[in-house]
Symmetry: C2
Subunit: 243 residues, 2 copies
Amino acid sequence: MRFTSEQRFDDGVLERGFTLGEVPGILWTPEPAPAPAPLVLLGHPGGLAGMYPRLLDRARHAAAEGFAAATIELPGSGDRPRSAAAEEARADLRRAVRAGEPVPDEVVDRLVLPLVDEAVPEWRAALDALLPLPGIGGPVGFSGGVISIGVRLAVVEPRISAALLFAGSYVPRAIVEEARRVTIPLLVLLQWDDEGNDRQMALNLFDAFGSAEKTLHANTGGHTGVPRFEGDDGNRFFVRHLR
Amino acid sequence: MRFTSEQRFDDGVLERGFTLGEVPGILWTPEPAPAPAPLVLLGHPGGLAGMYPRLLDRARHAAAEGFAAATIELPGSGDRPRSAAAEEARADLRRAVRAGEPVPDEVVDRLVLPLVDEAVPEWRAALDALLPLPGIGGPVGFSGGVISIGVRLAVVEPRISAALLFAGSYVPRAIVEEARRVTIPLLVLLQWDDEGNDRQMALNLFDAFGSAEKTLHANTGGHTGVPRFEGDDGNRFFVRHLR
């Protein structure tokens, strides 16, 4: 892990860009840091540059509760090499959506499963690199999407103690089956009027989770219309489970 | 309105029993009261005596945020005269549930619609009597069930500014239609594994509400298993909308 940039915001949050092998990422730590600060991994749909304003906002919100936050670029997004297979699957998905047809399961599988298979080991490697840093400790939460990445991480990564998952992307059937093996506390956010999201599929996924404590927060509005108060609710969820 | 009893709890909450005509009720006010305290009406499924511990808990939780709380007995519950028609409808409903059959719409209509028609004017009369009391002011919230009573109140009673509705009872089709005319901010609680509740019906009702701000909180667990943290979330919902 190599730090590539550093800036401090007026609320005392320290932002550091880093690379982990070929994978760029960002780490935000609160100042003064409680020792050690729990870490929240910030999931996103890919494209750190475009997502930066929203990620920064989420990170500073988390820092206000004393949490460190970190994110890494997804495979095939930002400056990372594209996958021809993923681009083809994305084109097939767009074609179905434009035609008003249901998106075939096999298209969702081709788009999402390789992404999950590639991304999850990278997020785990990021944990290996981040957790030993001074001022950062466990436990760890995952917050955001791609929801299939969050599901797989919740199943395979024992260092993740709680997850706040954003419904709103296509979920392969195999991931719904994996969801039954998730046992950590979950808060699932669903935008009720999300144009690009299958509401029933999101409810089916919520139903599938094996966790004894799982909560769904559904709100009116489209994909990017998550109400501000859900940021506070998310912080309280992590306060309950990471402190 | 006639006060019939008075006791003060060690957190300073003053509890007063009252009768309003034939209808018994309870009023809880925080001490010291912010002047004037917003009022939260506490809905329940009927039977004040049996519901008292949970109502008291909800009232003290609300009082901790500076809210007054009040409730009244439902028609046909507690010491109030039974309705033969309602008893018959309830028996028909139990028969269908015991037989594992879907509950016919007309049974739900016979059970719930007369209750709503009778109860809603009583809750409005309670508001007329409570709001002029010293230390109590507007705005007003409704919190609880019977959800059909909450829907009707939200439609017809302009003094109610926000409602926290508990899904978990049968809802007549006519009430789902009324829900489209609700415009106040809503928080709907749904127990995901509620044995006595039709989950899809609750989701359909949530979908029907016309409110620009509506939020669904669904949690694992049965009818009475609402997690403690939802009490805090409910308070914050009312703080956003009643202050």
